[in-house]
């Protein structure tokens, strides 16, 4: 049985470590913010210029000058700091954010990621995604395993234009978890959703992968 969105986010949350500075993308990754284990200090970065992102404001207390990268109103925390976009991406590109969790359209077995454009459709732009995957030392992608039509989104090579080449370290889908070697060493299956069989997974997956299931 495939993992739910919340279960995928919960699996991504296991990548958090005490003291980490983390950037969360839009969609399922946003749910990870609510799954930080008690007693663990994790500081959330918003690439529009904020460290220490707090929860949504109470109704009526929203501040137009305080939004996250998804343009949602948020709040500050006692340890919050604000800075410019140049300083924000200096932080990101310089490798100071330990972990980035973001969504994807396609991931390849070499760690390539496509998540910003579909040829022939309106291009909205890559926003900060290309900088995040290029700069953050550990990148986790959370996405459905298959297209609605059934095609595998975990591929030998991405067919969509890339967001980054050799940038994904861990892929979490609704069916399984794969560790990927950015330097071309291939993908390794480490976990499967309950009830999913290896045969079913191979059927649903275009990418090659080795199997090293945990405990």
């Amino acid at each position: 049985m495939a993992w739910t969105r919340d279960e995928m986010a919960a699996r991504a949350a296991k990548e958090l470590r005490d003291g980490y500075y983390v950037n969360l993308g839009i969609g399922i990754p946003t749910l990870v913010a609510n799954m930080i284990p008690d007693g663990m200090t994790v500081t959330l970065q918003s690439e529009n210029g904020m460290l220490g992102m707090g929860p949504f404001p109470y109704e009526g207390e929203q501040d137009a000058d305080l939004i996250n990268a998804g343009k949602q109103t948020i709040t500050e925390l006692p340890q919050t700091s604000y800075f410019s976009s140049a300083d924000s991406f200096g932080m990101i590109r310089g490798g100071h954010i330990q972990l980035s969790i973001l969504g994807g359209m396609q991931v390849s077995e070499k760690g390539d990621l496509a998540n910003w454009m579909v040829p022939g459709k309106m291009i909205k732009g890559m926003g900060g995604a290309m900088d995040l995957v290029a700069g953050v030392p550990r990148v986790v992608v959370v996405m459905d395993h298959r297209e609605k039509g059934g095609d595998s989104k975990f591929k030998k090579a991405c067919s969509l234009p890339l967001t980054g080449k050799g940038v994904v370290d861990l892929l979490i889908t609704d069916l399984a978890v794969f560790e990927i070697d950015r330097r071309g060493g291939g993908a390794v299956l480490t976990e499967m959703a309950p009830g999913v069989t290896l045969d079913e997974l191979r059927q649903a997956t275009e990418a090659d992968f080795r199997v090293a299931l945990q405990g």
Binding site: G49, D65, S85, M122, G128, A129, D131
Partner: protein, 245 residues
Amino acid sequence: MSRKIYPDAASALAGITFDGMTVMSGGFGLCGIPENLIVALRDSGAKNLTVIGNNVGCDHHGMWLVLANNQIKKVLASYVGENKILEQRYMSGEIEIEFNPQGTLAERIRAGGAGIPAFYTRTGYGTKVAEGKETRQFPNPDGTLDWYVMETGLTADISLVKAWKADTEGNLVYRKTARNFNPMIATAGRITIAEVEEIVQPGELDPNQIHTPGIFVQRLVKGTNYVKHIERVTTRPRATEGGNQ
């Protein structure tokens, strides 16, 4: 000391706009945009503009007003969603869009203002963004090599920024995430015009805490009637008062 101050946005733009000019405008989405100056830019009627900024407004707000008035020829941005007119004109070929990764765009603007004609970044290597650009390898601290893309600095004929407070010298302070692209854009304009919510006397801002020194601001105006439209109001319910009593 107050020679930088103009009575309103229209007069602050008077005499310096021209067809074909390059304009940078601060803001992230609609957060921290120079609302008054954008209206004045629309009213100036200057055409064939190249507009540089993270976004180009969204339907009915911000730089969309200039777009809808048929003044924009080319856009450099990182994200242009929620903007139907731009979508139509881009698909029809009427408007050219050069997509820049957000961090690359921010750094290109900083570089332009800081006299750096070009720099290298790993961002975009191996993607469409690197097509036609110089790429090369540089060593990491551990001796391994990585590939990088050369990106160039950006400057503008006019930069429009929005700050929270200014003193009469043009020293600026921004508020919360409304800072975003404004500080770099302030440095990259041949002429930079700042609009602010409040103008105070020199000495009222802490000199230790100026975000943009006045040297970068040639013209200054106090904005009026701020809308500060929020694209996505997200809130949580307030716990019922006296809940568990």
